[in-house]
């Protein structure tokens, strides 16, 4: 299967002013630190992690909302980071779209739904459609996401959370992109509405041949819809593999802790792993060596000084931890 998206050694450091009166000192916030992964066409790739993991920054880098410090992003084989011409950028924008977490703030509050959904077509209009044709297409897409034509003239604040998220999805797919990046698509929604949206996303993926990159902190959601998943901690991927493999054999201590920490709606379930100690590290001053070592229940002496690299523990399943069999140190 060809790879739609290939990310290689992507790095993003933010310079943070660290005080100093006469000569400004700068520290760097190592938000994304050497990330590599591939997303095959037609798959659903999940990014799991908590705050500080860099998953949101990674999304912004892929969407070219932030400039990466180093590394490459190959989309459909083309190096996207070095696009300069407007037509190249517009091509990328038409092939890769996004849905943000909070539909309430990602929909323009003073635009009507019809205009919000039509806007991508108005900007990209390759087939030179007339305005009424564009609006007809918007209505079609809204129907696809389960909304009726009666909301075309409404404003976002008049819709419920679920409806707003559907509008955001409609806007993302109207250009028939190859890939959609979904940043926490259901965490801001009511529990009873989440299932509707997740089912809708699965249906749309099948119907329109989409590829998804889903960012979420809720592992149950990721297990439900992704085919491949990467777990991030403090800007690095600690474990990556096909979803069934990672969930049945979580190998990295952080993955294990994350899975164990999730609340289970079953009163008879007893948590086997005790809660992780300590706070999530600070990307401005990450711990030396393995970034997880201050909280890791299995940390050894070497973990404090040397950074482990991703090592394959089974086909397609890689883990960055010295404790995995024949774990490799970054030399």
């Amino acid at each position: 299967m060809e790879n739609l998206l290939e990310v290689q050694h992507l790095v993003k450091y933010f310079p943070i002013s660290a005080g100093g009166f006469f000569r400004r000192r700068y520290k760097s916030c190592q938000a994304v630190d050497d990330i590599s992964f591939t997303v095959p066409k037609g798959s659903c790739f999940g990014l799991a992690g908590e705050s500080g993991s860099g998953k949101s920054t990674l999304a912004k880098l892929l969407l070219l909302l932030e400039q990466a410090t180093r590394g490459s992003i190959l989309f459909e084989g083309r190096d996207v980071r070095h696009f300069r011409s407007r037509s190249d950028l517009l091509w990328y924008r038409s092939r890769l779209q996004t849905v943000f977490q909070d539909a309430g703030s990602s929909l323009s509050p003073r635009m009507r739904i019809q205009d919000i959904v039509s806007e991508p077509l108005e900007v990209h209009n390759q087939k030179q459609l007339s305005l009424s044709q564009i609006h007809a297409r918007a209505e079609e897409v809204l129907h696809d996401v389960g909304l009726g034509a009666n909301i075309l003239t409404r404003y976002p604040h008049e819709l419920s959370g679920g409806q707003k998220q559907r509008v955001a999805i409609a806007r993302a797919i109207i250009l028939e992109p190859a890939m959609v990046i979904l940043d926490e698509p259901v965490s801001a929604l009511d529990v009873s509405v989440r299932a509707q949206i997740l089912n809708l996303l699965a249906d749309l993926q099948e119907k329109h041949n989409l590829t998804y990159l889903i960012i979420a902190h809720d592992l149950a959601v990721l297990q439900q819809i992704t085919t491949r998943i990467a777990v991030m901690y403090l800007g690095q991927i600690v474990e990556i593999g096909n979803t069934p493999a990672v969930f049945s054999q979580p190998t990295h201590p952080y993955t294990q802790a994350l899975l164990a920490a999730m609340p289970v709606p079953d009163p008879r379930h007893i948590k086997r792993v005790s809660a992780l100690s300590g706070e999530i590290g600070n990307p401005i001053d990450p711990p030396p060596g393995c970034r997880f070592h201050p909280r890791c229940p299995q940390a050894g002496a070497e973990c404090k000084t040397r950074l482990p690299v991703l090592y394959e523990v089974s086909p397609g399943h890689e883990v960055a931890c010295s404790l995995t069999e024949a774990g490799q140190w970054k030399s």
């Binding site: 969407l63 517009l90 924008r93 943000f100």
Partner: protein
């Protein structure tokens, strides 16, 4: 997809639809703020319908009846309800004529200063960096100059250069009153720029120009409208000041400010009505514009707007 709630059935028949529309308009009318509207009526009604309302010729002097008192006082008569001025022209008619100049100056002054301020404000806020710095230094410069001083110089210079009529006043107002708009719009633009819908627009591929026009500008309209209504009063005051000092409206045309300046010496010497009514009209107009601005601010603020309108049904 069903949503909970009983749907209101719109009855068939165009008669019923008509009734509902009338009821809706009626409801909307009851929520309007009456006091500001009444205060602003003289300016607008007189300004728009002026010549139709003249009781007498506003320009023809008639020294026989000069300085006649208002109708309800001794020596007055109802043909000249508010009395006559120092050369015998009917005061009420002069006030009506003056409203027109004041209205034109206020509307166009606010319009042009607003457009200039909005344009520079959005540009500064959105572009950031050097453009922002440059525009803000210009703003600082303008703020350092006293407003009335600036207006005087510009109006006088333009008149000297031969530009006639109300244009110098309008240009003077535009150039000296754009700064508050720019600063406010820039602030709002800076905060809107961070919002997710701007990021989404960029991901969609929208050009900066499109984002500024379609996403940022509608977001600043509210505060601009509020500021513009308040500035309406400011513009009238500016015009009054300029006319008072001689660089505004020129005789025989009149404006309220000019009427005061021509006749303020009469306040103590008996014919107090000549400057006073003009002064009252200026005052209530500025009051009305400020009150309207306050009401609009509450009406357009989404948080208080919820309290003023019915909760929309899904």
């Amino acid at each position: 997809m069903k949503s909970g709630g009983v749907k209101t059935e719109i009855s068939r028949g165009s008669l019923n639809r008509y009734r509902i529309e009338v009821a809706r308009i009626g409801q909307w009318l009851t929520r309007l703020p009456f006091i500001p509207i009444i205060c602003l009526l003289p300016l607008f009604v007189f300004g728009i319908f002026g010549p139709l309302l003249y009781l007498h010729d506003p320009h023809a002097p008639n020294l026989l009846i000069a300085m006649q008192s208002p109708a309800w006082m001794a020596g007055g008569n109802w043909a000249y309800p508010l009395g006559t001025d120092q050369v015998g022209r009917d005061l009420l008619t002069r006030l009506i004529e003056g409203a027109r100049s004041s209205l034109i100056v206020a509307i166009f002054g606010v319009l042009f200063s607003g457009l200039l301020g909005i344009f520079l404000g959005i540009l500064a806020g959105f572009a950031g960096g050097k453009t922002d710095n440059f525009i803000m230094r210009i703003v600082d410069t303008f703020m350092a100059i006293p407003q009335i001083f600036l207006m005087l110089i510009i109006a006088a210079a333009l008149r000297r250069a031969g530009i006639l009529g109300l244009t110098p006043i309008i240009i003077a107002i535009a150039i000296s009153m754009w700064v508050p708009y720019a600063r406010m719009v820039r602030g709002e633009t800076l905060s809107l720029k961070q919002r997710e819908f701007v990021a989404l627009a960029r991901v969609t591929g929208c050009s900066s120009r499109r984002i500024m026009l379609k996403h940022i500008f509608p977001g600043v309209i509210n505060i601009i409208v509020v500021m513009a209504t308040t500035q309406l009063g400011g513009a009238i005051m500016a015009e009054a000041g300029m006319s008072f000092l001689g660089v505004g409206v020129q005789p025989p045309n009149t404006a309220w400010g000019l009427m005061i300046s021509e006749s303020n010496k009469y306040i103590t010497s008996g014919a107090w009505w000549i400057p006073t009514f003009a002064g009252i009209l200026i005052t209530i107009t500025i009051l009305g514009s400020n009150l309207l601005g306050d009401w609009l601010r509450d009406a357009l603020d989404p948080r208080t707007r919820q309290a003023m309108k019915k909760i929309k049904r899904n």
